[in-house]
Amino acid sequence: MIRSFRALLIRDLKLAARVGGSGVMGLIFFLMIVTLIPFALGPDLNLLSRIGPAILWIAALLATLIGLDRLFQADQEDGSLELLRLSPAPLELIVLAKVIAYWLTTGLPLAVATPLFGLLVALSPEGMLAMVATLLVGTPALTFIGAVGAALTASLRRGGLILAILVLPFMIPTLIFGVSAANAAVGGTVPFATPFLILIALSLVAAVVGTVGAAAALRSGE
């Protein structure tokens, strides 16, 4: 069972690294959005650093969303999903392996690259540190919520749009607490730990609900 889990995790990481994989794509998309917004707002550094965490969080949310429609669809199209069902491991474990691989190739690079992108929106050093921390614990929630949508739309041809409409509302709580934790770190009345702990809780709940939900969606999706 653990062997199956590991084999699938490694396969998905390999696929993400190959040509046409989603590995670097999300990161570049993230960079694009973060660079576009200062152009739209104009050279007001104070304004930028004030809304910087919000910009980074929205960019991270969109970057997570952009490759998500292929999470199960690619396997559905080439028949791999049938192969995955034949494993000794339960479907939940298979979903978990795929989601973790997806997060390692999108969410984790985003969080790690945030200090660099924080420069573009004039974040203070504490702000950057807080952004890394919030994205690190918050992006798993986005990925797990998105996985349910990805499983539901796996067999639809234009699933990407429907996926976004389906899952975006459920990502709002994560966005709220992610941004408020990042803001709390650079000032404000709320201590950093309060929204940060809620963010962690959201990720943990999403991990359970998302895994079970996505597996159920795949099972009934025939």
Binding site: R3, R11, K14, L15, D78, G79, S80, E82, L83, L86
Partner: protein, 214 residues
């Protein structure tokens, strides 16, 4: 390996999209036996295999899998269908290594399996560069890297040249000789020795919906 296994299918019926595809399909399969499933296009041959693979649920009847202990039917079978479940970006070797690790019960190594289907020279090529027939042979090589007693094959000879069809026949007979079971849908003869045969017909009295293409 494989002794005491028994697959029995009783009066199986299937519905898809509210239409009865087939009903009353019954057969049993014992170690060493092969079942050839024939029927017109759209009669439900592939659907029957998908039912056995556990991807679809029967509308009636039963699939019984005995003698395998606590291992469920999907854990004891290989399924090779029209979609070959190969990742184009990975090499043939990587695809087979993954299948071996993922499915468990390792048998031949990826290289030996590719040798058996005559594709050892393509081991390091991404599967996306291979022709349809070669891809299909890589998918068939998956049967060999992990041991599973029951092989479900959907049109196994499609896209194969004459020499590869003969190789496939030998692989199938070899699997039967070791106590394996095979269920294959086909239009072309497989030249297996003494296979069981069933023919699937679309169930009589199709629903009288207007615009039915019959």
């Amino acid at each position: 390996m494989g002794q005491g296994l028994r697959l029995s299918v009783n009066n199986l019926a299937c519905e898809r999209g509210g239409r009865r595809i087939f009903e009353g399909v019954s057969f049993t399969l014992l170690p060493g036996e092969a079942l050839v499933i024939t029927g017109r296009n759209g009669a439900g041959k592939s659907t029957l295999l998908e039912l056995l693979a556990g991807r679809l649920h029967p509308a009636g009847g039963k699939v019984l899998w005995e003698g395998a202990g606590e291992r469920s039917l999907p854990e004891c079978l290989h399924y090779v269908g029209h979609r070959d479940a190969l990742k184009s970006a990975l090499t043939a070797q990587e695809n087979l290594d993954f299948a071996q690790d993922f499915l468990g019960n390792p048998a031949l190594s990826a290289r030996e399996a590719l040798e058996a289907v005559g594709l050892v020279h393509a081991a390091r090529l991404p599967v996306g560069y291979l022709s349809a027939g070669q891809r299909h042979r890589v998918a068939l090589a998956r049967l060999l890297v992990a041991y599973r007693p029951l092989w479900l094959l959907d049109e196994p000879t499609s896209a194969l040249d004459v020499a590869s069809q003969e190789t496939l026949r030998e692989l199938l007979e070899d699997h039967r000789a070791k106590g394996g079971m095979i269920a294959a849908t086909t239009h072309a003869p497989l030249f297996l020795s003494e296979p069981k045969e069933i023919r699937i017909e679309r169930s009589a009295a199709p629903s009288a919906a207007a615009g039915e293409w019959q």
